[in-house]
């Protein structure tokens, strides 16, 4: 029997609405509370180290304090007191220290050409007089508008290295991430986090800039006090401790037919290399007030950035995270696992930024969160299908190598947590919704 069955058994009794003892998966808090300022709940996991992510990993969720205010909202409050002129001076000092005078690149800006990386690279070059090299880890499957925005970014004045991983390896790792973790975006995140430091080593550019800090979206506040990104996110000392798609590197080579060269693009940087180069990874969001909506305006103004032609399924927005066709599924899976869909992420951010108020956020979440992403579904299922012809060895690991709607839905159900979901009369519904 192949390790990945055609159909997973769902114990519906656990999801009965009358049942009092409700198991919480993923180490999530058993009782659900929503932030009183934004719309996020205490179920939202904070950033984790993806290459250690296994199916039994426990999540650490965003912290809500005694007044039921989340860390991300507290961070916003704290930022109101920041002396931005002082931070700007710090950034200028950093740039002065690294600025090249001999025609070489002096900083590395990883990004997709979305609004945030557009602003980061553009500001560094045109406002701070730096000479950035931009590097891009390709999305799983570009949207047409995402590809056009990527081109516009480069044409706004930057050299760029685009790293596009082997499509078959990427598909297989993504399928495994879906099966093991219900996390279709993981292969992208892995490469995104490790590419820049590795490119920095390759090109001998010690200074790396990212745009905003994930802490703003709920990582512990302590993470944010220093601009320097913690090494744990992008380097690992020991290859044997690395998991991709929730599968150990050893299993990937013995059971799934991958070779070391296939895995290299996903593996984190070698800490010794980073250390000898003296690499520093900084967030521009530490030095300047980062407002996603303003980034959109800036990118439109300076690069002709285009919003997507329709709202993204599961939310109302058209300007953020729009370049990967698999993204729709990424947020659908967070909705299934944590009860938090794309509209919750978008609305929470826009509430904190002062673009919408909480009532509006609640209305948007109630209307859009968790909507099934029909538009690219067939294409994504095809992408996730591990056919025997293309993957002679790996295909044997799946009782049903092809993914279709029924397969995906069953898989989704196997990742629902009884403390979040109830199942009655053939219908799934969330036990708790933001109000």
């Amino acid at each position: 029997m192949p390790p990945f069955p055609k159909r997973r058994k769902i114990d519906f009794a656990k999801f009965d609405s009358s049942r009092a003892d409700r198991e919480a998966k993923y180490g999530l808090p058993n009782s659900v509370t929503f932030c009183r300022r934004c719309v996020t709940s205490n179920q939202k996991p904070i950033s984790a180290v993806e290459f250690q992510h296994k199916s039994d990993s426990k999540k650490q969720a965003i912290h809500l304090d005694d007044l039921e205010i989340c860390d991300a909202c507290r961070m916003t409050e704290k930022k109101a007191g920041i002396n931005w002129a002082e931070r700007d001076a710090q950034l200028r000092e950093l740039c002065d220290k690294h600025r090249s005078r001999d025609g070489s690149y002096d900083c590395l800006v990883p990004g997709s050409g979305g609004k945030d990386s557009f602003v980061a690279a553009h500001m560094l070059k045109y406002k701070y007089g730096m000479h950035p090299l931009t590097v891009t880890w390709a999305p799983h499957v570009y949207t047409e508008w995402g590809w056009r925005n990527f081109q516009r970014w480069i044409h706004a004045g930057f050299d760029n290295y685009l790293c596009t991983p082997n499509g078959r390896v990427h598909r297989l790792l993504t399928r495994l991430a879906v099966e093991n973790l219900f996390h279709p975006f993981q292969a992208f995140i892995l490469g995104q986090k490790s590419l820049a430091p590795k490119m920095a080593v390759l090109h001998q550019i010690p200074l790396v800039f990212y745009g905003e800090n994930e802490a703003e979206y709920g990582n512990p506040i302590g993470d944010n006090d220093s601009a320097i990104r913690q090494w744990k996110y992008f380097s690992a000392p020991e290859k044997s401790s690395i998991y991709l798609g929730g599968t150990s590197v050893k299993d990937l080579t013995t059971d799934f037919g991958l070779e070391q060269v296939d895995l290299d693009p996903y593996l984190p940087a070698n800490p010794a290399d980073l250390k000898s180069l003296g690499i520093e990874v900084h967030y521009l969001g530490y030095y300047m007030k980062w407002h996603p909506q303003s980034c959109y305006y800036y990118a439109v103004e300076h690069g002709g950035f285009e919003a997507s032609p329709e709202r993204t399924p599961g939310t109302y927005s058209k300007y953020n995270s729009i370049d990967d066709r698999i993204d729709d599924f990424h947020y659908y899976t967070t909705f299934i696992k944590y009860g938090i869909g794309r509209a919750t992420y978008d609305a929470a951010q826009e509430i904190r930024s002062g673009d919408i108020n909480r009532d509006e956020g609640v209305a948007l979440v109630q209307r859009f969160d968790g909507e099934f992403p029909t538009r690219f579904a067939d294409e994504i299922f095809e992408y996730l299908s591990i056919t025997e012809k293309e993957f002679p060895q790996a295909a044997k690991m799946f009782e049903q190598p092809r993914i279709d709607h029924a397969y995906f839905n069953n898989l989704a159900d196997s990742f629902r947590s009884p403390h979040l979901w109830s199942y009655n009369d053939g219908q799934w519904s969330l036990r708790h919704q933001v109000k």
Binding site: Y297, A307, Y316, A363
Partner: protein
């Protein structure tokens, strides 16, 4: 050559969210600009021929709260006011018209229920009913009508929809180009021309004004009866006086008044 054109109405467009005047780009990234009353009063004083209030997010949020904005506006705006956003029934339209609106504009509700156009025009006559169309280019000379502030596809061809709406009794077509809106890169002149060609009722063009040349391009390509300005006015890039003076200088026929206050008081 331009002398045969109908008089072009210069319209100030105010997109409203809650109690705020807002503005986006491609109807996205909605930014709070200020107090709609302050802006409306200014545009009126500068000689706007009409003010249009759009609660563009009424459908998005499933609400309707322009009534207060409209009734307050009647105190200091004395040019025709068109109000759109979240009108789903004859009753909704009545409330807004009673509050002081001269015309009502509908989009989402009309797409969901095209007979609403007829119901409304049966009660108040066509001249009170504006069909608002958010059109996005899908291919060469093809546009799709959107709802929910340029977010939701409908599958309807925008030009055919304009025709159908006019046939149902809409007395005016207000067409916004989602592609050009907020970009300051010029109107989608082809879109406006196609709609002008397709219907006999007045057409108002919205979305893309960023320079006076754009206005010239628009009236050279077709003959809309009105043109809406938002970004250029809200961010003080142009005043309506400047725009009107340009029309006079370029022989684009407009109402020859420089101040709304002078004419209507």
């Amino acid at each position: 050559m331009l002398d045969n054109l109908p008089i072009l109405r210069l319209i100030a467009r105010l997109d409203i969210k809650g109690s705020n005047l807002i503005k986006g780009v491609h109807l996205e990234g909605l930014r709070v600009v200020g107090d709609p009353q302050v802006h409306a009063a200014k545009y009126y004083a500068e000689g706007a021929d009409e003010i249009i209030y759009m609660d563009t997010v009424a459908s998005l949020y499933g609400r309707n709260n322009l009534i207060d904005v409209v009734s307050r506006a009647t105190e200091h705006v004395f040019v025709p006011m068109t109000v759109g956003g979240g009108i789903r029934s004859v009753e909704d339209a009545r409330t807004l018209l009673r509050a002081g609106a001269d015309k009502v504009a509908i989009n989402t509700a009309a797409i969901k229920n095209p007979t609403l156009i007829k119901e409304l025009s049966d009660v108040w006559g066509s001249s009170t009913i504006v069909l608002s169309i958010e059109a996005k280019r899908v291919s060469d000379k093809k546009w799709e009508a959107y709802t929910d502030n340029g977010r939701e596809r409908t599958g309807l061809d925008a030009v055919e929809w304009a025709q159908k709406g006019a046939a149902q009794g809409a007395g005016e077509i207000f067409v916004t180009s989602v592609d050009q809106e907020g970009t300051k890169k010029g109107f989608d002149c082809e879109l406006v021309a196609e709609i002008c060609r397709a219907v006999d009722v007045p057409v108002v063009a919205s979305g893309g004004f960023g320079s006076l040349q754009h206005l010239n391009d628009l009236v050279t390509a077709s003959r809309p009866t009105g043109v809406a300005f938002a970004d250029a006015l809200h961010y003080d890039k142009f005043s309506l006086k400047q725009i009107r003076q340009f029309c006079i200088d370029s022989n684009i026929p407009t109402r020859q008044a420089v101040s709304g206050a002078e004419v209507y008081k």
